[in-house]
């Protein structure tokens, strides 16, 4: 599992960063991605949020939760390192089972 934190206004090649990362995950065949928008926060991801006026900014904190095998995550991490200029990338191990309508498999 990988969590990526950054600001909603962050861009990658003109696109919102979270859309760019979701597109890259699709391209790599990553199993599961969810993008969450927080209501408040601060951190390395945004100069605006560090300024203390975060609550009045539109730059909401974004978290992506990405789940796949260690091999797939290892393929993804170099792209995340390039795309995230300011933010946090945190990895942790989870035991995951995926369900599909036709079949169930563990990974």
């Amino acid at each position: 599992m990988v969590r990526v934190h950054f600001g909603e206004d962050d861009r990658w090649q003109g696109k919102p960063l979270h859309e760019a990362i979701v597109a890259k995950c699709k391209e790599l065949g990553i199993a599961e991605v969810i993008v969450f928008r927080g209501i408040e926060g601060f951190g390395s991801g945004s100069r605006i949020r560090r300024s203390g006026h975060w609550a009045f900014s539109k730059d909401a904190p974004i978290q992506l939760s990405i789940v796949d095998t260690e091999e797939q995550i290892a393929r993804l991490l170099p792209f995340l390192g390039t795309m995230v200029e300011e933010g946090l990338i945190a990895t942790s191990k989870v035991d995951a089972i995926r369900y599909r309508r036709s079949s169930t498999y563990s990974q």
Copy 2:
């Protein structure tokens, strides 16, 4: 801790799946459940989301975060396996302390 990912439109016996899982958790006396709605995502949880038109669908990604003892989680997992037709169930260990107004205990 268990994370469950699926689509907002998923149903269990006619009810929204996230409401059905919350009701089952209450029935089992599970300690903590929070349901989050993501703003974007894809995965095993939805054919619509796999189609690439996810952003224009109302089928938002849902994540349930469930925290309890290993024994309680072991009681819950078979129900989750039955109820989640398409989605992801990921377990991990956390050290948790619960607080109540009258008393504090660790679990």
Copy 3:
């Protein structure tokens, strides 16, 4: 990493509890904090949510995700224990890399 769960209506010294915790994290120089609002839930954090009428209450479940070194988290935990009257505090280990515009460092 620390997750803190409680209810949106919870207060600390007259301020919303999530704002009070974010302010305390800033004061301690904590690296990353994001506040998420869930759409449903129950747990130790709220009498209203336990009453079964949660869905009709404005007391949405709140989750704070806090990421920093073990030393920094150890400084923060006593404050969380004092401030959270009803709720859950869960800690887990993650491998995190932070990025800033000027420099990148691992922690």
